[in-house]
Symmetry: C2
Subunit: 237 residues, 2 copies
């Protein structure tokens, strides 16, 4: 335990307790400290390099889980599930469930950037996974607590015919039925940067409004509109 | 050692000897057998799932190596180097250096598909990495022999101002100098599918022929032409 500030050491120990790590003595505290230091807090010693490794670590953890849990699934299904499991959105959700935001050292300006919060949490989460991986050179300090987050999500994605990519699913359907693509109209309808209702999207097909949705990004609003359309079309079929 | 055919077991042992694995007794031979079985040889038991895991394993191995070897490099440099290290081209080269083609079970029709050889070798290589990773749940059976392949390549990429992406480097240069993009003309100049001289590309800038190159794909020919142009422009500068 070589962290320079005793209070920081205590904070990190709290986080590790929350994760319920099986063998706390093997944690490399210096790396964990680094993993929870945002580039705005230190341009030299921050989580960037660990995040780079963590990106590979989380892909490996997700791959192993899928291989063990769904031996009969196709690789295409694996790829679809993995890309959602390792997405910023999922990783930020898991990080948030442990209150990672409390442990991440950032500059005060970055802390107020709500729009960047998701990617900040996801990046720090990947960096923490790298720190834990490098502590033992195995996934032993990771899978015991990460698997229970991934498992229900993987099951949900597998049971969803659109694989949670409603734009792609809707496009496939309209091309199959009519050989045309749906059209999206997006408007800025909120003023809060990063607010859930910032953008509103409509999706149209051959002059019909199929669905409408809101989101914090253009992409998210389009996905929400496509999901509404997808659900409506299923009902009408 | 549970492989059904004794001759196959012997073959695989030879490959493992070639790799110079530090602890041969820990190899999971059934997984290694699977890793070297192409989907055309068995639609049920083949390397596809292992390749999916291996993709994450090789990214992790490359990331760790870069983190340890170039602690002062930026994450952007790490990303550029890693994407080349884990490319089909690099992995197929390494696989070929051990004669992986000899150990890979494929259908005879696939075996004659020269154009698919590179991706076949790269896929099998990733699958073998997964089999070795899953044998110990560490990179212990991988890094001792893979690092020496990655190290000189990483050093070469770092010392190359174009980072081996000459099209991107040339484009950056022409945009910086003249605010225009170079133009490529590609012709099919060979008849051998997958032959090194199948396509010939020219790259032009403001009416001047900057360079010419050949390759087995349109992309490869364009890269070769861009590399010729890049080298020529450096001389003229």
């Amino acid at each position: 335990m070589n962290i320079s500030y005793p209070s920081r050491q205590k904070e990190l120990q709290k986080l590790v307790e929350k994760l319920g790590l099986p063998d706390r003595n093997r944690v490399n505290w210096q790396l964990l400290d680094l993993a929870l230091t945002h580039p705005t807090a230190s341009t030299q010693a921050n989580y960037e390099q660990l995040e780079f490794i963590g990106d590979a670590v989380v892909r490996l953890a997700a791959s192993e889980l899928l291989f063990e849990t769904y031996p009969g699934s196709s690789v295409g299904e694996f790829a679809a599930i993995r890309s959602l499991l390792v997405s910023d959105r999922t990783l930020a959700q898991i990080a948030d469930s442990y209150g990672f935001g409390r442990y991440l050292i950032v500059s005060s300006s970055a802390a107020c950037d709500k729009a960047g919060e998701e990617s900040r949490l996801a990046d720090a989460f990947e960096a923490v996974l790298a720190a834990l991986y490098l502590s033992t050179n195995t996934l032993q300090l990771i899978r015991p607590w990460l698997d229970p987050h991934f498992q229900p999500r993987a099951a949900q994605i597998l049971s969803d015919p659109a694989r949670q990519n409603y734009k792609a699913a809707l496009q496939e359907w309209t091309q199959g039925q009519y050989k045309i693509l749906p059209e999206y109209n997006v408007k800025e309808t909120g003023r809060v940067h990063g607010g859930e209702e910032r953008f509103t999207a409509e999706v149209w097909l051959r002059g019909d409004l199929l669905g409408e949705g809101k989101g914090r990004s253009i992409k998210a609003a389009e996905q929400a509109a496509a999901q509404a359309a997808f659900n409506k079309l299923k009902i009408n079929n």
